[in-house]
């Protein structure tokens, strides 16, 4: 027996009207509970996002206000020249295919 209606949960022979009333009540309570819990989680996630955005904005503002010690680095020659050249050559080769021009990379030379 339960507090909702005078119905025996384990019996198949409850009064039909009572069963239907119980079913309708449980249907509504159940769906409401599922939607409520998931909406609360949604709100918590939105709140969490807002809080985190606030914290990150605060950090940015602080870092903008704080005197920044600028460390200048002496310009150094890139060690990836060959990679850059290779990529540039590949792009040029790809473009040449579409434009109909014949293009072939023969060699790379550091200047």
């Amino acid at each position: 027996m339960n507090y909702l209606l005078d119905i025996d949960f384990t019996s198949r022979t409850n009064d039909f009207g009572e069963k239907m009333a119980f079913g309708a009540t449980t249907f509504i309570i159940g769906l409401l509970a599922v939607f409520s819990v998931l909406i609360i989680i949604w709100l918590c996630l939105v709140l969490l996002k807002v809080c985190l955005q606030g914290v990150s904005t605060g950090k940015k503002t602080e870092s903008e206000k704080a005197p920044v010690q600028v460390v200048t680095q002496a310009p150094t020659a890139s060690k990836d020249d060959e990679i850059i050249v290779a990529i540039a050559a590949a792009i040029a080769a790809a473009e040449s295919e579409s434009s109909g021009l014949k293009f072939r990379v023969v060699s790379f030379r550091r200047k």
Partner: protein, 420 residues
């Protein structure tokens, strides 16, 4: 010669085949009238093996379940004694004095199983005590990426809408079944095996075999069940909607999420704690980045071992005697309705959200709210790509998909709190 002949005859009488056809056994009459039921059970086992091995539908679960069914339907093997898990056996054996508060104490039941039971009886204790579903959820949590849900929390609504079938099937089942049984049948619509098992072992353990097999079979058949409803409830234009890329989710959000969900769900619906608590613990193992060993164990060895034990022991509860009844057919029918209505519920919420956002949400992802991770999300992706091959909905569908896991656990908690 006479002795040899008698020995051979005696041996033959002890075989399962002789028992199946009721030859020379003390309880021959029982088998003699029931043999055809065993043959039907073998046919059902064959279908499940076909689905698992040939069609590759949920093979990790359907195969142990089918094999458990096979073992439970071998006359004479007696690997499982389902009667050990019901009060009636103890009342008839030891008298009504054994009852405490109207039930046989679990300690007494466990003692009987350990001393008198077989291997599968002992394995089944994990189901009876509610250990396996929680451990499976631990592994599922460790394997699940909640980032799509965190990035797009609106998808929680689709996960909630896709629980509609649970409550409609519950209501429908009340016409014939008891309220507790109706609750266990309704939860099939949650498309979540461990949840269905946990609820059924509490509310209607006598229906466990039928409900578990219906739930897992339908989960396996999602690619066949869902698409017709997806096409019926959406227009071609809606199916072609491309959704914008999800925002990146920070580690802090990922770590806070399982803790927040555990607190919210377990404080509001404490009966969902064994599922949600372990689901979120597994996820925390994964996202925290400091417990890789635990995470790997939960998502590999642990979940694999538990899946074997759960599958075999649940399958073994489906013996010819208690499976081949009109109830089972009704359960299978209601389970299918629950699945279909849940799919429609998710789609309808998806459509509403599509309208409200001015066409930014593809309603197909609502169908993934039925849980069944990640199968339902893949189906949404496949149906979307059939309309537009350049459309990628998988990550968007994962949001409602994992929301469905939480939603079905909440629905289970509601049933347990009301019907237990």
């Amino acid at each position: 010669m006479g002795n040899i002949g008698e020995s051979i005859l005696k041996f033959l009488e002890t075989t399962g085949i002789a028992k199946l056809f009721g030859l020379g056994e003390e309880n021959a009459a029982a088998y003699q009238t029931e043999w055809w039921k065993y043959l039907i059970m073998y046919a059902i086992v064959g279908v499940l093996f076909y689905l698992a091995i040939v069609k590759k539908f949920e093979p990790l679960l359907l195969m142990p379940i089918a094999f458990g069914m096979l073992l439970a339907n071998l006359p004479g093997a007696e690997l499982i004694h389902t009667e050990f898990f019901f009060d009636d056996y103890y009342i008839s054996t030891y008298g009504p004095g054994i009852l405490v508060d109207g039930h046989v104490p679990m300690s007494r039941m466990a003692a009987e199983v350990v001393t008198e039971g077989g291997l599968i009886d002992i394995l089944y204790l994990g189901v009876k005590l509610g250990i396996y579903p929680s451990l499976i959820f631990l592994g599922v949590g460790a394997m699940t990426d909640f980032a799509p849900l965190i990035a797009n929390p609106k998808s929680l609504l689709m996960g909630a809408g896709a629980q509609l079938g649970v409550f409609v099937a519950f209501f429908g089942a009340l016409f014939y079944f008891s309220p507790a049984e109706a609750g266990a049948i309704g939860i099939i619509g949650g498309a979540d095996g461990p949840t269905a098992i946990l609820v059924t072992k509490e509310l209607a353990p006598q229906l466990l075999g039928a409900i578990a097999i219906a739930a897992y079979s339908y989960m396996a058949l999602i690619p066949i069940i869902q698409p017709p409803f997806m096409k019926l409830l959406t227009t071609k234009k809606e199916r072609q909607i491309k959704m914008t890329t999800l925002r990146p989710v920070s580690k802090v959000e990922k770590v806070v999420f399982p803790i927040v969900v555990t607190l919210v769900v377990c404080l509001l619906v404490p009966d969902a704690a064994p599922l949600i608590g372990f689901l979120m613990l597994g996820n925390l193992f994964n996202v925290s980045g400091v417990s890789d060993r635990l995470s790997k164990t939960a998502q590999n060895e642990l979940i694999n071992i538990v899946t074997i034990c759960l599958g075999v022991s649940v399958g073994a509860t489906a013996n010819a005697e208690n499976f081949l009844r009109p109830d089972t057919l009704l359960i299978i029918g209601l389970g299918l309705c629950a699945f279909a209505i849940s799919t429609c519920g998710g789609l309808v919420v998806g459509k509403i959200m599509c309208k409200l956002t001015g066409g930014k949400i593809n309603p197909l992802i609502g169908s993934a709210g039925v849980s069944a991770v990640p199968m339902a999300a893949r189906v949404a992706q496949d149906v979307g790509r059939k309309e537009d091959p350049s459309n990628f909905l998988l990550m968007h569908a994962m949001g409602p998909n994992v929301a469905g896991v939480i939603g079905s656990a909440v629905a289970a908690g509601v049933f347990l709190s009301i019907l237990r």
